[in-house]
């Protein structure tokens, strides 16, 4: 599996994400935001956490209009995979590749702690190695993770089984406790929690590792 991890000014989880991909067996290339093309043959693009462009204007807004992001949009339209974590989820909603938006946390505080999630669907490469309804613990670290979407969008997400993860004890006010959602073709996942920060024993938890092994399982050449 070939993975590309984007790097914007202000990204700060890019290397962690690259390590998680590599530990799962992926060949990883870091890609600078001013590049206008992804490396040849990339299967999945990782859009990392952080504070791209200082969160100026809106979180993820400027990264979503960067040259490399246009290439990511083309990649997704060709059926390519993408994983957006935290700021990466914000970037994906700003591009319109995922519906809805992420607003300031309802409690207005930056929330930085491990949270308990429920795996809502196993019907995706990202969640195939989990069990449906499984409880997992993954850290969050965000100020703007309050997911909002119009009622018809929420109904669509539910009807199409596109809610990937929910919070068991909602830390940010997200509607329907939503922590992560899938695209219609199930190849794009955006989530606020950081699976790459719970991917090896030294992290204090390994519940995030299955996301990367699941991707390898789905995307490794047969």
């Amino acid at each position: 599996m070939k993975a590309a991890v984007l790097v914007f000014p202000g990204s700060n989880c890019d290397r962690d994400l690259a390590v998680a991909f590599r530990n799962a067996g992926a060949d990883v290339t870091m890609v600078w935001h001013k590049d206008s093309a992804l490396p040849q043959g990339v299967d999945i693009v990782g859009i990392p956490g952080g504070f791209s462009f200082g969160d100026y204007l809106r979180c993820g807004a400027i990264a979503a209009r960067s040259p490399i992001t246009a290439a990511v949009i083309d990649h997704v339209h060709r059926g390519g995979y993408a994983l957006g974590i935290c700021n990466g989820f914000q970037v994906l909603t700003e591009t319109g590749l995922l519906p809805g938006a992420l607003m300031r946390n309802a409690g207005l505080k930056f929330v930085c702690k491990p949270v308990d999630l429920t795996v809502e669907t196993t019907d995706s490469a990202f969640t195939a190695d989990y069990g449906k309804g499984q409880g997992i613990t993954i850290p969050v670290a965000h100020h703007d993770g309050n997911y909002v979407a119009a009622p018809d969008t929420l109904a669509m997400l539910r009807d199409e089984d596109r809610i990937a993860f929910t919070y068991r004890d909602n830390p940010n006010g997200s509607v329907d406790d939503i922590a992560g959602i899938l695209s219609q073709n199930r190849r794009v996942l955006g989530l606020m929690p950081h699976p790459e920060r719970a991917a090896e024993p030294a992290h204090g938890g390994t519940d995030g590792a299955a996301m990367f092994t699941g991707l390898i399982g789905a995307l490794a050449p047969a």
């Binding site: 909603t93 607003m103 300031r104 946390n105 309802a106 207005l108 909002v148 979407a149 119009a150 006010g173």
Partner: protein, 79 residues
């Protein structure tokens, strides 16, 4: 030519920051504040001299970057 863009959360979108400001005003003894909504003002200096063309251009900027129309609405003042 100058343009001013007001970006506000759409009606019906909860505004946690506005609610916090309302709470703080109440704590300072300002009674009678029934609601607070917080938004942004963006001032632009444009080379364009035609009002209609400037407005059309700024509208495009709002749709593409300045506002997230999933949750925000915008108003444009020209001149």
């Amino acid at each position: 030519m100058k343009a001013r863009v007001h970006v506000m959360l759409k009606d019906g979108v909860l505004d946690p920051q506005g609610a916090a400001v309302a709470h703080a005003l109440g704590a300072l003894g300002f009674d009678g504040v029934e609601g607070v909504r917080q938004g942004k003002v963006i001032d632009l200096e444009l080379v364009e001299t035609d009002t209609a063309a400037a407005e059309a251009r700024v509208r495009e900027m709002c749709e593409k970057l300045l506002a997230n129309t999933v949750i925000e609405r915008y108003d444009i003042e020209i001149g």
